[in-house]
């Protein structure tokens, strides 16, 4: 295809809580597809988006399909740049150990700088 040699920097931003709305889940589905395209993909978890990575999510009582463990699969798809906003984590009384996957905890300014380097930023 014509796009074979283009590599773009694409950041996905998770800013909403999981389960109350579908954005995080369908965002994750989008990331998994994009991961097959050899682009430079990163994911930033900001605001309630950090809750998407919270350990011990069990949706059985809601009869809703859970997906938090799928975040663990991102590594296998070479989506390795997972940034978590430190302020968002602290406001929620969470620490890195509360999260399902290894992430880089950065300041908002640091994530902001990475954002400006992107070709595409998709908020979910």
């Amino acid at each position: 295809m014509e796009d074979d040699e283009i590599v773009k920097k694409i950041m996905h931003v998770m800013r909403k809580a999981p389960h109350g709305t579908i954005y995080t889940y369908e965002g994750l589905e989008m990331i998994l597809i994009m991961a097959a395209y050899d682009q430079d993909i990163s994911v930033a978890f900001i605001d309630d988006g950090v809750y998407a990575l919270k350990k011990d999510q069990d949706t059985e009582g809601l009869e809703i399909k859970g997906f938090s463990k799928t975040f663990k699969a991102l590594d296998g798809y070479d989506v390795e740049n997972l940034y978590v906003d430190q302020v968002s984590l602290e406001e929620r009384g969470l620490i890195e150990d509360d999260l399902l996957v290894d992430v880089e905890v950065l300041s908002s300014a640091e994530i902001g700088k990475i954002m400006t380097e992107q070709d595409v930023v998709v908020h979910h």
């Binding site: 809580a17 350990k55 011990d56 949706t59 059985e60 009582g61 929620r92 009384g93």
Partner: protein, 97 residues
Amino acid sequence: MLHTINKSPFGNNSFETSTRFFQPGDPVLFIEDGVYAVQANNKFSGTLAKVQKNNPVYVLGPDLNARGIGNIAEGVTSIDYEGFVELVEEHQVNSWL
């Protein structure tokens, strides 16, 4: 009157606004993304503690579990859907959408 709050207090102002309207004794139930309001030691713990002085606070357990929130503020009662129905039996309902 039973007040239900279904939005995260971080993303949306419905919890903070609703507290101005609660009458003493009105039960408050957090459901869906609203349950983050009862997570212990987060930014809204102070607001919640103030509410608890005048209002019994409930949270929908299945919504807590779905979100992996195990550590909830003291004095908050976790209930299931049947408990939700029991609160509705006792009170008219005000859903803060």
